[in-house]
Symmetry: C2
Subunit: 420 residues, 2 copies
């Protein structure tokens, strides 16, 4: 009897995580002689713990194909991190119990560093419990912070969004800076790593062109140097565009956004990094400002996804199934950049024990000497990742995004399991 597969989405969703799901399901369907049904966890790994398994075989081939152009997590996701084996072995045993009950021999976990760790542990424990499961991690994170893989699916699209948003907003502010707003701040995601903010740097090619300042979590915030650079930009260019990573922080590690910054009245500033920076500039330099916080818009912007990103997201899903069918275990399909002047990549195999719990930050050589910009090396790295436009189909002026039926299979384990 063919082994079935389990697929789950983990952590914050992206514009292209469903493209990976599409890659998994279409590839499994293409190998129906070797692999049975793909069950998807409803709301991620919680769906496995609660035995809420979506039967993807009931989804039409049109729906599965449309996942490739649909943002968000079609099967639901969660930030549930399994505890360590020592602290909660019962959770891992529950996973194996559910997998066994549904004859699941393949575990595809689509997420970031935490899920790579879970994936690894499931594989190890399943061996020791005598029900070996092929566990393959599928990389996904807008933060681009996974090791080994050259980049993470999800990042290219958010990078493209931020680069375009920076470029467009800059054209707006430059139109009116002579007599009006002189400061524009765009707050981006990236709590620990500055990859997303760095992408804003692609909007301009020279130091005169916007953005004039990028704030990275990797560079300690220096208020004096920052204000000086803002002032210089306004005096030289007439305006200043700032792309700021939400993770911008002081040397002591405190985030600017919640470090107790106060407004001119001595009140604690609430509401995020962008208004904090805006208030700082206004109070110290007096410039009129505007700010935007893209928040979920940036990671759900499938309407302007990077074609390279969509292709890679699909490819890692496809490769995950091929790896599993080839008997591989505890691995992750990684995107490897090939040498040469033209961007080219292929999928390689990364051992999960080298992926789990490792965060990849912006290398210092990607950040300009003054800490406020990106270098040519960063451009060379980033530019290919935002290449190409992969537009979704439209109907009546809006993207035709799909929804799954989401039918659950009947539970078989005869017990419920509390997820805390």
């Amino acid at each position: 009897m063919l082994k079935n597969a389990f697929y789950a989405q983990s952590g914050g969703v992206t514009a292209v995580i469903n493209a990976s799901a599409c890659g998994v399901i279409e590839t499994a369907r293409a190998h129906s002689d070797k692999i049975g049904t793909v069950f998807a966890g409803k709301n991620g790994i919680i769906g496995a713990l609660k035995e809420e398994l979506i039967d993807t075989s009931l989804e039409s081939s049109e729906t599965i194909a449309a996942l490739k152009h649909t943002p968000g997590g079609a099967f639901g996701s969660c930030r549930y991190k399994l505890k360590s084996l020592q602290d909660n072995r019962a959770e891992y045993e529950r996973l194996i119990e559910v997998f066994k009950a549904h004859n699941i021999g393949y575990f595809f976990y689509n997420g970031g560093g935490d899920s790579a760790d879970t994936c690894l542990k499931v594989s190890e424990l399943s061996q020791s419990m005598g029900y070996p499961i092929h566990a393959v991690h599928i990389p996904k994170t807008v933060d681009n912070d996974l090791p080994i893989t050259d980049n993470c699916p999800g990042f290219g699209s958010v990078a493209k969004y931020i680069a375009i948003a920076t470029m467009e907003a800059s054209l707006d502010i430059v139109s009116m800076c002579a007599s009006s707003t002189k400061i524009f701040i765009l707050e981006t995601m990236g709590r620990h790593a500055g990859w997303i903010a760095a992408a804003g740097g692609l909007a301009g090619k020279t130091s005169e062109e916007p953005p004039h300042i990028i704030l990275f979590p990797e560079v300690a915030f220096n208020e004096e140097a920052f204000l000086d650079k803002v002032d210089t930009s306004v005096k030289q260019c007439g305006y200043c565009v700032i792309v700021a990573s939400e993770g911008a922080r002081y040397a002591n590690g405190d985030f600017l956004a919640d470090s107790g910054a106060t407004d001119v009245f001595g009140h604690k500033q609430l509401g995020g990094l962008a208004p904090t920076l805006a208030e700082l500039i206004k109070s110290k330099l007096g410039y009129k400002h505007h700010w935007a916080v893209a928040d979920y818009l940036q990671r759900s912007a499938r309407h302007i996804a990077s074609a390279v990103d969509v292709e890679q997201a699909y490819a890692v899903g496809k490769a995950a199934v091929e790896f599993a069918l080839a008997g591989k275990n505890s691995v992750m399909p990684a995107i490897t950049r090939l040498p040469g002047p033209e961007y080219a990549w292929h999928i390689t195999e990364a051992p999960l024990n080298q992926v789990a719990n490792v965060e990849k930050f912006m290398p210092r050589e990607f950040i300009s000497d003054d800490g406020f910009g990106i270098t040519q090396a960063a451009r060379d790295y980033l530019e290919p990742l935002i290449a190409g436009e992969s537009y979704p189909p439209y109907r009546n002026g809006l993207p035709s995004y799909t929804r799954i039926v989401g039918q659950l299979v009947a539970p078989k384990t005869q017990r419920s399991f509390d997820v805390n």
Copy 2:
């Protein structure tokens, strides 16, 4: 000797105001037997007052054509409002002086209600000063608040952006609401009129679908009803998506964003409407939230402009020149919707004295009974305006937006003029 033309961009720029500029310049060039050079005001009307006139004849036809897909105000804009004739007749006389010096017989002013008023006054004063100028106003405002015209160029694209952003962010939050964030707030532009926020309503077709709540400036904010609706949405749907116009206000007219709302610590809340609402929901209902402030991103998002909007923006620019050449004066090309089941429109002529200083708000029949949504009448009005995608060309993953040369003509009036 052929009369020259003067064109200026006024007020907040849009994704398609340059398409109107393109319409003006290309149409003038097509009638080079009847109209001379088009001079453009550098930074709007200030450019006329300071005699900083951009010679558009030095821009290549490729550059002018590319304006059609370039956001922002290519010639620069300003929020400078001419005072009344009584208060500062000198400003109007200066305009006529500059126009006369450069043999300008046509004045095309591309903006909102204020600029329509200026346009009218220039026409009137030029008559009385014995140097009659054909003044034609070209409608532009993302706020969609001009009268007579069925809609304003610039609005359709921001409406499309907000509808898509709402749809995409909703797919994001629904993916994770079971175990994580339950509230998403998108703050939109619209200080006085709720047209832009209303467009967010196009993202969902039924009351169950997001957005669950829209806040309009036209409807007094009722905190109790709002919190009740938020709570109901979360309990029924699992989450709540809110699209809030920056102009949302209390019954007494105070804006929520700066009405002295305080956080749970009793501190004055800074940073705009979205964080104010987020804090309110968190403190009263305890739900985890995310919020986005699109700010300039929404009105500069040429990458996802409405094809109908681009076409209409070009058409009003073209019609303005045709009106002027037909001897019309003190008029504005208006977009008139034709009756029938299929959306169709044509350009008609609106007298400026009926346009100037009149604001068009959302009619009550466009807003649902509970004040938190849009009606079918609103959908019927809005949907055609976001139809079609007018993608800009791309290079290396980024839109190929153009920049003008911007060469100024030599001044002729032999005097400077102070603009305050």
